[in-house]
C-alpha cells in the first residue's frame, strides 16, 4: 500500500515535471519552462469570515481522485446572469444530498460554469457564486460544510460549445464531482 502511494506520488511528480518542462528554444534569454513547480507554501491560515452565504468557510482545497460520472445527471442549470438555484433544480440537489448521506466517506467538489455571454473576469466570479449557491443549499440540508468545496470554471468548460440559447442553457450550470481523497490526484486538464 505504501509502495503504491509512493509510486503514485512519483508518477504525479513526473507527470507534472513533464508538463512544466520542455523548451521552446528559439529565445534563450527567456526560459519559461525551466523548473518544476515548488510545493505550495504553508497555508497562511484562514482569514476572517463573514456571513454564511456559500455554506461558510472552506479553508483548504480538496484533492484526490475525481468521479465525474456518478452525479453527472444531477447537474443543475441557471438563468442568464443569475446564481440563484431554481425551484425546478431542487430535486437534483436532494439527490446529491442523499448520495452524500449514504456515502459518508465521499466528498464533493462543485464546479460552477457560465455561458459565453459575459466577460471572462465577470464570469469567473459568477461561476464561483453559482457553485457557492449549491453549496449553501446542501449545507442547509444538513451536509457538513467540511465535505464540500467549490470552484469556478468561468466560461472555459462549456458542455455545448455552440453559440445559441440551446447551448448557453446547458453551459450555465453546476457540475457535482465526487472526490475520493488520498486516492491520487489529477494533474492535467480533463
Amino acid at each position: 500500500m505504501k509502495m503504491i502511494k509512493l509510486s503514485c506520488t512519483l508518477a504525479l511528480a513526473l507527470v507534472f515535471s513533464v508538463a512544466v518542462t520542455g523548451c521552446h528554444g528559439h529565445k534563450p534569454k527567456l526560459n519559461p519552462m525551466g523548473a518544476r513547480v515548488n510545493p505550495p507554501p504553508q497555508e497562511p491560515g484562514p482569514g476572517p469570515t463573514f456571513g454564511n452565504q456559500g455554506g461558510g468557510d472552506q479553508s483548504t482545497p480538496l484533492t484526490g481522485q475525481e468521479d465525474r460520472q456518478t452525479l453527472a445527471a444531477q447537474s443543475i442549470y441557471f438563468n442568464y446572469d443569475s446564481a440563484a438555484v431554481k425551484k425546478a433544480e431542487r430535486a437534483k440537489l436532494d439527490a446529491v444530498a442523499q448520495y452524500l448521506s449514504n456515502n459518508r466517506d465521499a466528498k464533493l467538489k462543485i464546479e460552477g460554469n457560465c455561458d459565453e455571454r459575459g466577460t471572462e473576469g465577470y464570469n469567473r466570479s459568477l461561476g464561483e457564486k453559482r457553485a457557492l449557491s449549491a453549496r449553501g443549499a446542501l449545507v442547509k440540508m444538513g451536509i457538513s460544510a467540511s465535505r464540500i468545496v467549490t470552484i469556478s470554471n468561468g466560461k472555459d468548460q462549456p458542455k455545448d460549445p455552440g453559440h445559441a440559447e440551446s447551448s448557453w442553457s446547458q453551459n450555465r450550470r453546476d457540475d457535482f464531482i465526487i472526490i475520493h481523497e488520498g486516492a491520487g490526484g489529477n494533474v492535467n486538464g480533463s
Binding site: 519559461p32 456571513g51 473576469g121 465577470y122 469567473r124 466570479s125 467549490t150
Partner: protein, 399 residues
C-alpha cells in the same frame, strides 16, 4: 496667399498637437497651448519616407497606436526620413522648421525600429514612448485557448504580437495573467494542479514557479500592485467571491470586502487602493477599497451598463473597463472617481500601457473567439495583432 491660407487652416486642424507654430512667412511664433488629452482628439500627422519592410511595419504600428496618423510628406506636421543605411533617421518639425531627432540604431529589423519609434514619440510629444520596456521591446502576456475554449496556455509576446512564445505547457484551464511590475515574472491563475484554480507566481527568467494562493473555493483573478510587493485576488474561502490582498509571496492574506460578488481587482498607481467590479443590490458597478480596509466606495459609470474588468491608468486619471449590454461589449473609459464614461470601441478586458493612453484589449470575432487589438483611447485608433490560435484573450501590458 492661397498657399499660406491653406497652411494656416492645416495648422488650425492640428492645433491640438502643436505647442508652438510658425505660420509660413511670419516670424512671430503663434503660441497654441497643448490641450490635455481628450477623447476624439485628432491624430498627429507624420510622414515616413525611405523605410521599407518590417522597419516600416513596426514604425507604422507603433506610431498609430500612440495617436499618430501616417500621411504624405506634404500633409504631415513631422517628416520622419530614413538615414538610408541601417535603422534610423531624422525627425523634422515642418512648422517649427527644426530637427527634433537624428539617430541611428544598432541591430536590425523590428527591435531597432521599436527603439527608433520610442525616440520619435518622445521627441514629438515630450513623453516616453511605449515601444520599449527596460531596454527591450515592450511585452504583453495573454491567454491562448487552441480550441477557442477549454484548456490553454499563458503566452507572452512583443506588444505588436510578434515573437510570441508559450510561458506554460500545462494543457489546463488558465486565466488572468498579470505582470509583476519591473520583473520578467507573471502571476496567473492555473488549474494545472488538482483541477483546482490556484494562483501561481512564475519567474520567466529562471522558469521557477510556485503556488502563492491555494484555498478552498476558487483562488482567482490575481493582480500585482504597481510597487510589486502585494497581490490582489478573488478568493471564495469565506463564503463569497471577495477581494483579498496578500504579500506577493502569498503570505499575510487579508479579506477586504464582503460584497455579493466581486471580480477583476486591479490597483491604483500608489498601490494603496484596489479597484474592482461588484454587485450592489443586484446591480453591477465598479468600486474601490483601501488596502487598509474600510467601506467600499462605488464608482459611477452611469450610461455604461454592467461594468466589469476595470484597469486604472498608470497616471491615475482614468479607469478603462468593459461595459456589457446584452451581447454587446464595449471598452469604456471613465475618470478615476467616476463620471461620464466614454465609449471607445467594441471589445473587452482593457490593459493600459505605461503612457496612460494606449491599451491592449480582447475583441470577439467569429465563433465568439477573441483576438487581441491595441488601441489609442484618445484618437480611438486601433490595430489588431496576429492571433496565435483559437482564442487569444485576457491581455496584460508589462509595466
Amino acid at each position: 496667399m492661397k498657399n499660406s491660407l491653406k497652411i494656416c487652416l492645416s495648422v488650425l486642424a492640428i492645433a491640438g498637437a502643436v505647442a508652438f507654430v510658425h505660420a509660413q512667412g511670419d516670424q512671430t511664433p503663434i503660441k497654441i497651448s497643448r490641450p490635455a488629452n481628450t477623447f476624439g482628439m485628432p491624430p498627429i500627422p507624420v510622414s515616413l519616407e525611405g523605410f521599407t519592410g518590417e522597419v516600416l511595419d513596426a514604425l507604422k504600428f507603433d506610431l498609430y497606436v500612440q495617436g499618430f496618423s501616417i500621411v504624405s510628406a506634404a500633409d504631415a506636421q513631422y517628416n520622419i526620413t530614413s538615414s538610408g543605411a541601417g535603422v534610423g533617421g531624422r525627425v523634422m518639425d515642418r512648422y517649427g522648421k527644426k530637427e527634433l531627432l537624428a539617430r541611428s540604431y544598432s541591430g536590425s529589423g523590428r527591435a531597432a525600429a521599436h527603439a527608433f519609434a520610442n525616440d520619435i514619440v518622445e521627441a514629438i510629444t515630450g513623453k516616453p514612448g511605449i515601444s520599449l520596456n527596460r531596454g527591450s521591446t515592450a511585452r504583453i502576456a495573454f491567454k491562448v485557448q487552441p480550441a477557442g475554449y477549454g484548456p490553454g496556455e499563458v503566452y507572452i509576446s512583443d506588444f505588436d504580437g510578434r515573437n510570441a512564445q508559450a510561458a506554460t505547457s500545462d494543457k489546463a484551464i488558465v486565466a488572468s495573467p498579470a505582470w509583476v511590475s519591473g520583473k520578467l515574472a507573471l502571476c496567473y491563475n492555473s488549474y494545472a494542479l488538482d483541477h483546482n484554480p490556484y494562483i501561481f507566481y512564475h519567474d520567466l527568467d529562471t522558469g521557477k514557479r510556485k503556488v502563492i494562493a491555494r484555498y478552498g473555493g476558487s483562488s482567482i483573478s490575481p493582480s500585482v500592485s504597481p510597487d510589486g510587493t502585494k497581490i490582489a485576488m478573488v478568493l471564495s474561502k469565506g463564503g463569497l467571491p471577495n477581494i483579498y490582498v496578500a504579500n506577493i509571496d502569498g503570505t499575510n492574506v487579508r479579506q477586504l470586502t464582503t460584497d455579493d460578488e466581486d471580480s477583476s481587482p486591479c490597483w491604483s498607481p500608489d498601490s494603496m487602493y484596489i479597484y474592482f467590479a461588484t454587485k450592489v443590490n443586484e446591480r453591477r458597478t465598479l468600486a474601490r477599497v483601501s488596502i487598509a480596509g474600510g467601506d467600499i466606495q462605488r464608482i459611477s459609470t452611469a450610461g455604461a451598463p454592467n461594468p466589469s474588468e476595470p484597469d486604472v491608468s498608470p497616471d491615475g486619471k482614468w479607469i478603462a473597463f468593459t461595459s456589457q449590454s446584452g451581447s454587446y461589449f464595449n471598452i469604456c473609459v471613465v475618470p478615476i472617481d467616476g463620471g461620464n464614461p466614454q465609449v471607445i470601441t467594441s471589445g473587452e478586458d482593457p490593459s493600459w500601457a505605461p503612457n496612460s493612453r494606449t491599451v491592449v484589449f480582447a475583441k470577439r470575432s467569429a465563433g465568439e473567439r477573441y483576438t487581441l487589438s491595441v488601441l489609442d483611447v484618445f484618437t480611438k485608433q486601433a490595430k489588431d495583432i496576429a492571433r496565435i490560435s483559437g482564442s487569444d484573450s485576457e491581455p496584460a501590458w508589462a509595466k
